[in-house]
Symmetry: D4
Subunit: 247 residues, 8 copies
């Protein structure tokens, strides 16, 4: 723990009180002007760094990747626009751009070995883009991932016929738009935690995902908790934490 | 058709143009001051008259039942308060008060013979009160009704084990609060129309039934249409119409 | 019933328990990777297969049509974009593209003979696109369809003058945006079920169809149930089911 | 105009600039501590003073009536609670308490002669309480008022048979809960302005009157404008202004 | 009254009952397929016909103008797109296109003489487009109109300095976005009815005009009623009705 | 797995196909009329049975506890009203009523040994009731639980001073009303999953917990997922699943 | 600064690193079990401690007052229920209960001398309760306070005639329900900051204060910022901070 | 005070009552047709004039700048589109266009000397654009401004390490999207007023800034008040007022 280190130095009279106070301020932050990179996070969390690219300029993304590379921290950017993807590809030889999941990965440190299984189940074909983002993130964090697409509750066969494999996972990510019933049905059939991701897929009274969100939050089944609409990244993160600490 | 009758009389010079115009105004309405009873409705629709008791005083209800009895029209009141129930029981010897469904029935004409089956499926124990109202109304309209309580999707067994019987109905009423997923799952399993009733059962982000309503309106399954939150009566009405005209 | 078949085979020792379990999983599903086609649905429901094209790539649509053609299942796609329409037209000689209703139909099996009447009534000229989708779907499912456009309640004459014909239908689809009053007025005038479709037509406090949706869900008239905003397809589906089972 | 008077006095050197400034402040206000009575309003508007009793204590109401009586201004209180009604009746001999409309009237000046007609049309029996408030207010302001209760659009006969009389009015107040379609239908049938009052009558997705409010605001008919939910007073006020200035 | 005419003919045996019934259906409607023109409306209301162009194709607009011209009915289209404007200008020599108010006017009958004054007051510069639509409509209906732009309550001087002229009108249209306070302040200062138009001007928690709508519906001032967000047309219509019947 | 057992018997000709089909229906359900108890759930999930008492009558609760006792299944009821608590205490000698958490526990089988730690952190004193429900449920499921009350972010000291102990848990439940910021701050400080529970604590624009719900769903911190407003039970359930499968 | 003190001691070897770490945890917190009192807050902020009594039991309030008295910290409780008020009065001789503002004050340290002026302006009589809470809080914090009740914009005279006095304040608290226009009008007339408090006063589309909140957040006037609905306390707090640091 | 001047002239018989009345109308307004410029505002408020450019045409902006230059009033336009920026740059030699903050400044009078410090703290990189607008406005008004970007609560270090500098300011502007927790955490750490600006940064259940707005309005911390979503200008205005009057 870095704070302890500073305090130890202070106790040993290696540094003054004023310097201790000053040093405590700058622990683990690289200030790029527009962004304050938390360089200590990888150490704290055990995961590589993920950058939310939406709303950042290509230049800002490059700055961030340069710094993370310098610090030897593995980096993944999500929601990378086509323009940003092009710029990143030009600037970094080893970067892996994935146009389906809109992610970019740059390994500057050891690549984690996949362990433990996360199952990603989607209701419809259109929910696939959220699932693919979740898959990319979970794999970046060192999880095995298996996807089960188009298993919506309107045709239960499609879900039930995959149940045995879904049950092998330590955690299930259930992704659905429209009425979001998938989360409840899946949670009634497995023993593991279910992370539900409402999607904005649908139209009309779906209100950009509100119906699926409310549906999942009100789930009558046990073992469901919910992340933001279309938040494949967030679901993958918490699923990775659960998976990592699973027996 | 009464309008034709009036026109025939006019053509036959039995009445004047002015009288024809005047008569057209008063066709089939009994004006009780507070309420205009549509006496022609039973003839038009083939169903007895249903009175929404909520928001009406006991005296207004008595007035309405007196008039309907005089006109020999079968009458059912829904959402009858305890107070109103007592007053009605005192005023009408033959009235049947049902405290579970909060209904009161007074037959002044022939009792319809039950034909055709309506299935009522509920998600949880707490949705039962809406189901019982729907059952009372559907039976008053001359339908056979079978109820399947507590078949929520969190334990699919409970629904699947009743499926064979549910499929015997001409129309299914699916009643659920919380995330309302029942409607989608049922509709994926039957060939008949599903009338979905969201209920206000639940708490928090259920927002008094909004989550179940949005869920049902956004159903990914075919053959679902929706009535108002807690509207057991409305579901029973349209189900009765469908049942009556079914082969 | 296919499940029974498998069980019979098991009983007759034609297959093992493990094979029975395995086989039960794959009943009636064609897995295209992105989409799990429920090949049994047409057998179960008696209707051709409908594909919701919005949010699917042209390639995914082609995959689906190829598979359905192979399985000799009639197919209709709704909400087909101009791009997808072009690709489909190039890939399938016999496909019928309808640019007004944004649908594509490919018959690979017998074309159903139209029977029974569905009436589609719209409030304004701008609601027509939803009505045309509903008409295309209902005709694909083998219903006779008659449309009554621009019959909004602000000029009752327009509705009343068509009433006799509307009453000939087994079910009425009422389509309206803005305040959605059409559904209540129509339902007060017919004996058949009314399927109400709120549309996003309007502006301001219409909130993309919310006002019409709430209006229809709260209808004071009997016999109304509601589908999603702009959901011409969904209304046509349930109307087709009701029509098919009508005397 | 009082401001002009003060300026005239100033010009004529009857008062100083400082006094003019000071006097301008206190024009027409009686400050009761809790309430600042605008004593000039009756002069300005030509109507008696109306007090919104809800949220005021009986004592505050008495203070207000005492002051208005002193100033010889006719006064009407709306939404008077039972408790307040009792206290007012004890304090003022000539006050007229109306328990149906929850109003109290105290004439301290000339009673206005009723002229011009306002028609009040309601959709259902339960909307009557709002209508009765509107009637009491409109009569206090010196209008002739005729009420047409229970004319909802689910049974058009009830409305059409009263149409001739409704058309005699200079302005129509249309009061409806649930889906609020009455306003649109009425406005399509009359030439005069329609003031629409949504009511909180209904349940479920009515959301305490929101559905009726949105419905009326989005009316497809010409000549409709809307006041707050359950605001019988507000509708009566603007209707009175229109009626007064009508030929 | 046309219905009376038909009845008279029937009485005089000039037509049969069946023909009378049939004729009653087609009274005053020109059915263009996409649109049912209510040709009787001008006779009934005394105003020219207004067409809501948004959501209609140029061809549909041309059809409508051709029919109205044939029927010698003055016509105004609102929310005319640039494309539609061009097509209309090519098809009708005498049509007046106004690019500011997005309207098109074609007089085929007498031009009404402007009488009575309507005042239009706006809060900000950005509300001007709604005001200009209202002005075009009100002038088409034969009213004198005076506009008072940019009189928002943040600088009361701007409103107060125009008050004397505003008070000369028979009715005031108050147009404001953001917090919509203008309606309350204006209504507190005039004796005439105030028609409030919330606009979608603003951003953030304005929610496309919702804040202004709620503000105006909840106005603490007397004599305010409200039309839809950005509905300059609707405000002009009801203001015209009030103005026409004013002394 | 029970289904396999039935299939095995069928294969071994111990039962017929019809009996197999019939038996599959009734697996694990005790039908009490009002409630279908899923007797297999404890076996499937490894947890005792939890009954949501709100909306159930005392008699229904007694029926459920009698059945569960008969089946030797440990039972916990949440949201037990005072009335129900009294009745349960009279009917079951060994039941433990806890008035603070509104729970009732009846052990009919082995009591699970607490293992693994769940930390429950609340923002304010008023969130305590939700926390206590969560604690009762988690302990019933066999978890060690430690509570940290009143650690809201307005005074960071209160949270930071408990951080070391909070970090010892396998999963953290963060409970907060008002602006619900606690979840984000906690998640930024721990490595374990954070289950966020919005509460209805607050007033005004809190809208019964909506503000906290939206806040938590939109958390900028990693590792947060959310359950329903005031849903202490649901948080405890998923936390228990995570804790059980943690190393 | 206490943290510095601990660090100084560490440097001077008066305490060990472990003790330093431990001590940093407990700085300034009195843990009452249900509540963690931030005893350092008064030192940090310069204000006495305020306790939000709603949702706390009388016993919890007594615990808190006992501790604060012991620490010689002046204490104010807001939203004190009648029951709690009685218990507090019994336990503390010197406590001042104010039934109008629902507050209780116990001075255990010096009473602050009022300096600087805060003006509180309300729109209507019914907003007074929020104003009185704000007044009690502001006075407890050592501000001079002047109230201007019932100055709503529907009668501008009432506001304008008090303007000169309102302008003497360093900060204005504007309190209004319904359409909340007061904040905009006041802010257009003063040079100081305006803290706007929406109230839940009103009905219907007021939605418990939402209309006033949105109105104030969207204010077209400069210098307005907003606190929660009915949050008299919060407005008083920030106004006190502004007042204290004003010249 | 100008009004006093006019009254003095009247008293001295230099002008007539009618002229006095007339003159009072035109005090301090330059009417450009589309816009009424409040020329007195700078005198009243002590700040230069700020123009909200969004929704105004380039020509209207030029008109406004010409007039303000003529009146020797410093002017700042916010939300200037690229097109408008180009036109303004062509028309005014000395104008300063800032493409980052989308502002344009034209000094026609003395440039204010920066005094007092405003701290602007943002949660994420994407909130920077709102912060930059606030900075531009605050500097135009003569404040010293220091920005602290990307200090979101998910990594408390980033905020805490800047705390000492943030505390030097007289007022803090806290800008955050998503869950908006920053405002509460900052307010718990400083003694000065915190003006919170919710931003529309985020997605899904953020609902264009609603989540952050509700979060900030419900802040559990003292000393927070809130302006509109993305309203950097508004926050800067009130912060400038507070800063100016701070000791």
């Amino acid at each position: 723990m870095q704070v302890r280190e500073i305090l130890e130095k202070l106790k040993n009279a290696e540094i003054s009180v004023d310097i201790a106070l000053e040093t405590l301020k700058d622990v683990s932050i690289a200030d790029l002007g527009h962004t304050k990179l938390d360089l200590d996070r990888t150490a704290r969390t055990g995961f590589g760094e993920v950058v939310f690219a939406q709303g950042k300029t290509p230049q800002q993304l490059v700055d961030i990747f340069v710094e993370l590379k310098k610090q030897k921290i593995n980096a993944l950017a999500t929601r990378v626009s086509e323009d940003s993807a092009k710029v990143l590809a030009q600037c970094f030889e080893d970067i892996k751009i994935d146009n389906l999941s809109h992610t970019a990965v740059l390994y500057s440190s050891e690549v984690p070995q996949p362990t433990g299984l996360i199952a990603i189940v989607t209701a419809g074909t259109s929910d696939m883009s959220v699932a693919i983002e979740a898959k990319a993130v979970a794999e970046f964090f060192g999880n095995k991932v298996e996807c089960f697409f188009d298993c919506g509750v309107a045709g239960l066969h499609r879900l039930l016929s995959n149940l045995e494999n879904i049950r092998k996972a330590n955690v299930v990510i259930a992704i659905a738009g429209m009425e979001g019933a998938l989360a409840s049905v899946v949670a009634g059939l497995v023993k593991t935690p279910v992370i539900a991701v409402p999607t904005s897929v649908g139209y009309g009274a779906n209100f950009q995902g509100l119906s699926a969100l409310l549906s999942m939050i009100n789930s009558c089944a046990n073992g469901v908790s919910v992340v933001n609409i279309d938040n494949g990244y967030g679901a993958a993160y918490i699923a990775s934490v659960i998976n990592r600490q699973s027996k």
